[in-house]
Amino acid sequence: MMRWALRRIGVGLVLVWLVATVTFALVSLAPGDAASRLTDPRIPPAARERWRRDFGLDRPLPARYASWLGSAVTGDLGTSWYHKRKVTAVIGEVLPNTLLLTSLGLALELAGGIALALVQLRRPHGTGDRWITLATLTAFALPTFGVALGLIGLFSYRLGLFPPSHMLSLEGEMAHGWTRFADLVKHLVLPVTAIGVTGVGAVTRYLRGSLLDERLEHYVLAARARGCSPRRALIVHALPNALLPLITMMGMSLPFLVSGSLIIEVVFSWPGMGQVMYGAALGRDLPLLLGGTIVATVAVVVGNLLADAAYAIADPRVRL
């Protein structure tokens, strides 16, 4: 176990380094640099040169790479060209917002998926099952931005129930304690629902299929033979086994926790990683893009590692 973990961590580090290097190369070789962000023609060339020198862009590529890698290893990802602050500070500020939004969304997606699949399994191939199948297929096929805009159109513009954007209203920003919390919850409802709706389709469709398979296994038959009710056999015996592969699925969605549902954040003006990265891409804020990509890559690697470890704990047949 220990050896496995060490090896996986080693491989993961190499992966992160590779991705970081490739991204650095892409970023550095892309046309235009920090100085081309200064579009105002009145800026004198000397000021441009000074700007480039300040960001170290006048040095040759290998030297830049070496110093960038050196500071990245020590946890310094450079300075954002747009925010004029440390990349780590910018990311550190928005990452919790994204984690809050996406973890709630994932929880909703999982809970909804399990509940729907169990309802479908009460009478497979019956009317209810067919309708839910149609609904989950539609939810699976809807583009994220479509769901987000639909929710905004219905619940914000038509019914006026929830705010269409941002994390806090002005009053909420000023307030403390309970009022602030209530304001936050109000702002969370629509984006979390949007994540839940777009994700629930995949979870339900997957879980229904694997529950149908598990139901026919001998251990479920054995449980029924011992006098276990069909409901109990399904929930206590079949469900945990059907849920096992979902661990891998969830591990793969850890990067989603970090990179966030970028589109949802953009549509709802949610101050998170996705929106910051979108802004960085539009504004060609290369250090921030690089930093964000590295953070997201780390999340991918850690997610896969945790998923494999969790799988081994949940399923004793798997040896590491």
Binding site: L15, A141, G150, G153
Partner: protein
């Protein structure tokens, strides 16, 4: 053994999905021949944001432009055009043609016909999705065959590359590439294809690894078939059903990603319409012009549903084949 060989009976889901996809493709190819120019702006003063089914009178003028209004009547050398409660007189000598036009699915913020844009958007969206899938399949099948069939160092190297690429946060990369290189359609297709071949490669490799231990491969080798022949004539056709199933799901995925990128303004660039950038246009007027956002979203969803149905049907066939064996 595969969908195409023993196709005695396709499951209903497969038939429905395949018909839907075919219908969408036909509409995308032929539709734009029968509709107006998707980027023609008739008359922004009178035809912007018309709800579906609206009808307007269009007077074509001598200088090539047009004006439109709710109604027009002729009176002593003038055409009197009523537009939003006001009346405008236009000298009859300037008017070259008068026609009424119905906007079956309404118009957008600057007065372009939504139906025409949806249809030519279908062309763009389906073509980008389909061609990107083709790129992914060619790369993925090639890499998967090479990896699974040759084994050894090639296998190890290819699979490590696949692992590394799978760890890249693709959305960020796409975002970055799109922002830096303002994509042309060809670049968009290439980027989407190159970012999604890894799953195909893994799948094909797995299939090849299990198939190459089977007797028919041994038999082929025994009668002296070359490795190339075995790979393409014996292994590949047998791996077709799962690859087709994965490809159908992937097509839906690619169409969603293209729509999302275009929605963010980083995919298909205006004035070329695509379903994603049409929604981006409609976002600002969501509260009073639902059709601008709803219709393209519905078409994206319909396409992805069709692809998912095809995938489900193919999976059923694969399961049936496994049971037969």
């Amino acid at each position: 053994m595969s969908v195409f060989v023993r196709s005695a009976r396709w499951p209903r889901r497969l038939r429905v999905g395949a018909c839907l996809l075919a219908a969408l493709a036909i509409v995308a190819v032929c539709g734009p021949w029968f509709t107006a120019d998707p980027s023609a702006i008739v008359d922004p003063r009178a035809t912007a944001l018309l709800p579906p089914g609206s009808q307007r009178v269009v007077l074509e003028l001598r200088d090539g432009t047009g004006v439109a209004g709710e109604a027009a009547r002729q009176a002593e050398g003038f055409w009197v055009l009523s537009r939003r409660g006001a009346e405008e007189k236009i000298p009859a000598a300037d008017v070259t043609a008068v026609s009424t036009r119905r906007f079956w699915l309404g118009t957008d913020t600057v007065g372009r016909d939504v139906l025409a844009r949806l249809l030519s958007g279908a062309r763009v969206s389906l073509a980008v999705g389909g061609l990107a899938l083709a790129v992914a399949l060619i790369l993925g099948v090639g890499a998967g065959l090479a990896s699974g069939w040759t084994g050894g160092i090639a296998d190890a190297v290819l699979m490590r590359i696949v692992d590394a690429l799978l760890a890249v946060p693709m959305l960020f990369l796409l975002l970055f590439l799109a922002a830096v290189f303002r994509p042309s359609l060809a670049a968009l297709i290439a980027v989407l294809g190159f970012s999604s071949w890894m799953g195909v490669a893994r799948l094909v490799r797995g299939q090849v690894l299990s198939l190459k231990e089977r007797e028919f491969v041994l038999a082929a080798r025994a009668i002296g078939a070359s490795p190339w022949r075995i790979a393409f004539v014996h292994l590949l056709p047998n791996a077709l059903t799962p690859v087709a199933q994965d490809g159908a799901l992937r097509l839906g995925d690619l169409i969603l990603v293209e729509a999302s990128l275009s929605f963010l303004g980083l995919g298909v660039q205006p004035p070329t319409p695509s379903w994603g950038n049409m929604v981006a246009d409609g976002q600002a007027v969501l509260a009073n012009a639902w059709w601008l956002s709803f219709l393209p979203v519905a078409l994206v969803a319909l396409t992805v549903i069709a692809a998912a149905l095809v995938a489900d049907g193919l999976q059923e066939i694969a399961r049936r084949d496994a049971a037969v064996r």
